[in-house]
């Protein structure tokens, strides 16, 4: 224990973790080594199924009844945790290690007050009185910027918002002043603006408490924002590790390079936002290759890669270590996409100016039922959730409109209304000359056929009881677009266009990966040859390497079929290269709409600006303006008067009287150029003077 700087807080050596299953065992994690020092944030990054979380569970000895550490050691402050008995570990854990994980609502006990859950950390382990514990809890909550801390202690978890819940979980973790804090995707379940605030908090606390943080995430942007060092995991192994700066600047392992190419960048220009997928998929733990794990997906793989398993080795004189035979020979900058990758053609086609979809003040309200007797008898005034208010825009034929907004922005309701799953409350919506304010039961089959949808969740997009062929064939059969005898052939043609072979025809959904399910979902939507396809975040549940492939596929399909698309996304990074036009929604209202490039450069709507500033950019060198929204998104039952954004707007102080007009008057649309429109009281000329949110300094020649 000579020098704290030299002894890492956590050190894993050749860690291998196995799960016992029927008829043997599966090694979920192998050959993982890394160390985390005091005051350091160590990112563990990788796609799903790479064993990131398993490592974390091993550290806290929570592998379940069938998991165990098969080989290797876990040293915590010099003591080996492997083989320690339960009681000793429990004490160690309670006093020194804390953990924060993905879904804060799940992590908090729904039937205990927040105060009870926080206090017990102090009272059970240490002889601290209730009052003192309460005091310390309040202090800690204040430190994580929780408004109204004293009262929060008396509440139950469901009474506070998701972002606040995560603050509570973090505050609870920090109460014991842990030496090691493990964070497993702590912001994945949160909205971008909330995520940004929580990430700021994590960064700040790490500096203040000098804690070692093990930060697990799939998001390279988050790594770039909060981590000092990073370890990249693939198929249960650590394939590369080093400082964040080095890894992002000069990734050595082909997998790391692929990941970086597959992530949306939000850089300065549109070309930089093209995504390149990694072909293939992560092998299942029981089907891993004997050589390099990545060889089957690697562009550079040689026979040596396929037969010999590479070891982690340092590269040059940097701190970077990499598990690749060819690290020195690979030049990432010379990479060109292989034939097996679809690359979208960004030289845009001439767009028809003729609109195919016209919305005018479209409105969707839901009834709210109160919980009092008076409500039940219908004595109180009816209340509504104003999910979509006054949506007005045109979508030109063959173009893509990206709709961006956080949860509660009404983007999903908007497309559900257009497709007819919901009946519009008011306003007009026309597809060509057909009225689409009605719900599906009032639409003619011919109209239904022209509007189809691609769904978000790959696991629920396909009916588990039917084969791929049956599900794609059904729309053809239903609308009679293809004679019955030819359905099979048509389905196979579609499958091939989706880059799925004929042999997929008779497969059941459970035999497909997430990306393949999404491809089938797209094929099904296209089967009836619709004019308009509405996509509800079709890639948000997929791994980054697959995301890119699906997006490129959609683009190519659109080119071929001349389909008009509406594409929903929850942040601005994904839709950029994909959309012709983009609409930004907040609390049921479109705040800004225009050609896609105009959204990413000033003038912006203040909300768009905040969104852009919140998106984690996978580039540690990028300079991002720091704009954070305060408070939570208001209730759509009682939306704020005037401009709906005024309660959280960071820019209203630019207007006289601290933006009094924003509270009183609904702003009018201000048109910039090319149909770029902003719903704001601040004059568009003034908005245009803002600095761009993201600035990437020119890279010095390496």
């Amino acid at each position: 224990m000579s020098n704290t700087n030299e002894q890492p807080v956590l050190k894993c050596e050749n860690l291998a973790i196995a799960y016992k299953v029927r008829g043997g065992e599966i090694e979920a994690v192998q050959n993982v080594s890394f160390e985390i020092h005091k005051g350091e944030t160590y990112g563990i990054v990788g796609e799903s199924g790479c064993g990131k979380s398993t490592c974390a569970w091993a550290v806290v000895n929570f592998l379940g009844s069938n998991g165990y550490v098969k080989r290797g050691n876990i040293f915590f402050q010099g003591q080996d945790l492997v083989g320690k008995d339960g009681e000793e570990l429990r004490k160690l854990r309670g006093n020194n290690i804390a953990m924060v994980y993905q879904d804060p609502m799940q992590a908090l006990n729904p039937s205990m007050t927040i105060g009870d859950q926080m206090r017990e950390v102090l009272t059970v382990h240490q002889s601290i009185s209730e009052e003192e514990a309460t005091q310390r809890c309040i202090e800690m909550l204040e430190r994580v910027y929780m408004p109204d801390s004293a009262n929060v202690l008396k509440r139950f978890p469901h009474q506070i918002s998701g972002g606040q819940q995560q603050r509570v979980v973090i505050a609870t973790a920090l109460l014991i002043n842990p030496s090691l804090l493990i964070m497993d995707e702590p912001t994945t379940a949160l909205d971008v603006t909330v995520e940004a605030a929580v990430l700021d908090l994590i960064d700040e606390l790490r500096r203040e408490f000098d804690t070692a943080i093990m930060y697990i995430t799939h998001n390279l942007g988050v790594v770039a924002r909060v981590c000092d060092k990073v370890g990249v995991m693939y198929a249960g192994e650590m394939v590369e590790r080093g400082t964040v700066k080095d890894i992002f600047k000069n990734p050595q392992h082909p997998y790391t390079q692929g990941l970086i190419r597959a992530v949306p960048k939000l850089g300065a220009n549109k070309e930089g936002s093209i995504l390149y997928p990694i072909p293939g998929r992560v092998p299942a733990p029981n089907a891993r290759p004997s050589g390099c794990m990545f060889a089957p997906r690697c562009d550079y793989a040689t026979d040596q890669c396929r037969s010999d398993h590479p070891e982690l080795r340092p590269i040059g004189d940097s701190d970077v270590v990499v598990r690749c035979h060819l690290a020195e020979e690979i030049d990432a900058s010379a990479w060109v996409p292989g034939d097996n990758i679809d690359v979208p053609d960004l030289t845009k086609r001439n767009l028809d100016t003729e609109p195919i979809l016209v919305l005018d003040k479209l409105q969707k309200y839901y009834d709210v039922r109160g919980s009092s007797i008076r409500d039940a008898l219908g004595l109180t005034k009816k209340r509504y959730v104003k999910a979509v208010e006054g949506a007005t825009f045109k979508v030109p034929k063959g173009s893509t409109l990206g709709i961006v907004g956080e949860s509660g922005s009404g983007k999903s309701t908007l497309i559900k209304t257009i497709i007819g799953l919901e009946k519009a409350t008011n306003g007009e919506a026309k597809f060509l000359s057909f009225d689409v304010t009605t719900d599906l039961s009032e639409r003619e089959p011919g109209l239904i056929q022209e509007l189809q949808m691609v769904f978000q969740n790959p696991d629920s997009t396909m009916n588990p009881s039917y084969t791929v062929g049956q599900q794609i064939g059904r729309p053809m059969e239903r609308f009679g677009t293809v004679p019955k005898s030819e359905i099979r052939g048509e389905v196979i043609k579609l499958l091939q266009q989706m880059r799925l072979g004929e042999n997929y025809y008779d497969r059941l959904p459970r035999q497909l990966s997430g990306g393949e399910k999404q491809r089938v979902g797209i094929a099904r939507a296209l089967a009836s040859r619709p004019d308009v396809v509405l996509c509800d975040e079709p890639v948000s549940a997929l791994d980054v390497s697959v995301q890119a492939a699906i997006l490129n596929l959609l683009l190519n399909v659109q080119d071929e079929y001349k389909t008009t698309m509406l594409f929903i996304a929850h942040d601005l990074s994904v839709v950029r290269f994909f959309s012709d036009n983009i609409a930004v929604m907040y609390l049921g209202e479109v705040m800004e709409i225009g050609p896609s490039e105009s959204i990413y450069a000033p003038p912006y709507h203040p909300y768009t600006e905040a969104l852009l500033s919140a998106v984690p950019v996978p580039d540690p060198t990028a300079v991002q303006k720091h704009i954070r929204l305060e408070g939570d998104i208001p209730s759509a039952i009682n939306p704020p008067s005037g401009c709906r954004f005024h309660t959280r707007c960071p820019r209203r102080n630019l207007l006289p009287d601290n933006g009094k007009i924003c509270e009183e008057k609904i702003p009018t649309w201000q048109e910039d150029a090319d149909g770029h429109k902003i719903l704001c009281h601040i004059p568009v000329e003034e908005l245009a003077t803002f600095d761009p949110v993201i600035y990437v300094p020119e890279k010095e020649e390496a």
Binding site: K91, Y101, Q106, P110, H158, I373, L377
Partner: protein, 431 residues
């Protein structure tokens, strides 16, 4: 909360209406089988017809349903033109209907051989004094004479001068009486007003029998509940936190065998072991000596119910506990370094009890169902026994009324279950 209560109450009322209609329609004695039951297999068609008339089974079913629910005294009062009164006979305790004369006299009537209407004036001791026959006849639009009154048995009755007869059972057999009414209204106040009429089987007020027996059954059910629930929750929780271990397996299997053994199997085995072999408890729980029921009378019925019910509730509690122990917030608590005991009692227990509580309350239904059998096995004079006897006899109104009581118990316990859930679950309480 207010809305929840309001909805529950409305839903309970609707349920009761539906149940009463269902019972009434289903049990409607349409083919006269019950008349054979009452009169005996050797009765003549005339006798059966007369009895059907006396019991008003020849009126339309809608009419009888209304009579059964809200009574028919108000209808009789309109026809008779005077108020009716119900007075307890001090000699038998039965409740008898009279016409309230308005001047302090309570009357019934009969028609004598001279076609005169004889008022029978009630005396203090419950007997009556015959008065002089009067010509109280009224005339309808066809010139026919008729008279509406209450007959000597306290039934609303219509006489005319056609000289109808009625058959009555006496202790010696059949008697045909002259001067009988041509139409009857078996007076009752209706189940809503606490009067379901008289039982065909016992001749006593159904309402009195049902309340008396229900109170005994509640004692039995209450005892069983008090024994089963704590035991079941404890075993369920023990099994739940030891999921997959031998202790869990043993509890689960014993519980399953208990639940799978019908009451009459476990009851008979208990009688065999505890009553016949070891002679610890009586074989029957009936009050044979007239000293009232002793605690020992309750032991075997309660044990039998426990054997059947325990396993089910254990199973529910176990499943809920297993679920909760896998929840992420339990993981949080363990990673926070909380002692195991605290994790179980402070973090898991309350959440684990939420689901079973509603199911347990629903299960009271099964408990009541089990009691029917247990009462039959042990001859315990409770509601279940009454239901069973009424069903065997075909005493449909008694069966319907008793079944209604079990349904009321079921819906009320369900309401309590929902309330308990609301109280335990802050997500509902504070929304």
């Amino acid at each position: 909360m207010g809305r929840f209560l309001f909805r529950s109450v409305v839903s309970i009322m609707v349920t009761m209406v539906l149940v009463s209609i269902l019972l009434f329609v289903l049990l409607d004695p349409r083919d006269g089988e019950v008349l054979v039951k009452i009169l005996g297999i050797e009765s003549t068609p005339e006798q059966r017809e007369s009895l059907a008339n006396q019991l008003a089974l020849d009126t339309p079913i809608m009419q009888r349903y209304v009579d059964w629910v809200i009574g028919n005294d108000w209808r009789a009062e309109r026809l008779i033109g005077k108020d009716l009164a119900i007075i307890t006979d001090p000699r038998t305790g039965d409740q008898i209907w009279y016409v309230d004369d308005g001047d302090g006299r309570f009357l019934q009537y009969e028609v004598d051989e001279n076609q005169m209407i004889v008022p029978l004036v009630r005396q203090e001791d419950g007997s009556y004094a015959k008065e002089e026959g009067l010509d109280l006849w009224q005339t309808d639009e066809n010139g026919e004479k008729f008279f509406w009154g209450v007959d000597g048995k306290g039934r609303g009755a219509l006489w005319d001068q056609s000289g109808a007869t009625e058959f009555v059972t006496t202790q010696t057999g059949w008697q045909e009486l002259a001067g009988a009414p041509v139409d009857y209204i078996p007076l009752r106040k209706g189940v809503l007003r606490g009067d379901a009429g008289l039982s065909w089987r016992t001749g006593r007020s159904i309402f009195n029998s049902v309340t008396e027996r229900a109170s005994r059954t509640f004692i039995l059910a209450g005892l069983a509940f008090v024994v089963v629930m704590p035991l079941a929750l404890v075993f369920g929780i023990i099994a739940g936190i030891n999921e997959g271990r031998p202790l869990d397996r043993i509890i689960s299997i014993v519980g399953l065998i208990g639940t799978s053994s019908p009451e009459f199997v476990s009851g008979l085995i208990m009688i065999f072991v505890f009553a016949l072999t070891w002679k610890l408890f009586p074989t029957q729980s009936a009050d044979l000596t007239g000293q009232g029921l002793q605690p020992k009378h309750y032991v075997l019925p309660v044990l039998t119910l426990t054997a059947v019910e325990l396993g089910y509730v254990v199973r529910m509690t176990r499943a809920s506990m297993v679920d909760v122990m896998k929840a992420p917030y339990i993981r949080t608590a363990i990673i926070k370094g909380m002692p195991y005991r605290r994790v179980v009692f402070r973090h898991a227990l309350r959440n684990a009890l939420m689901a079973p509580i509603t199911i347990i309350m629903l299960h009271i239904n099964y408990l009541v169902g089990g009691i029917v059998v247990v009462e039959a096995i042990f001859a315990y004079p409770g509601l279940g026994d009454y239901i069973f006897e009424s069903a065997i006899f075909g005493d449909v109104y008694a069966l319907a009324a008793a079944a209604m009581v079990t349904v009321i118990v079921a819906v009320l316990t369900r309401l309590f279950g929902d309330l308990a859930y609301t109280l335990l679950n802050p997500r509902i309480r504070f929304s």
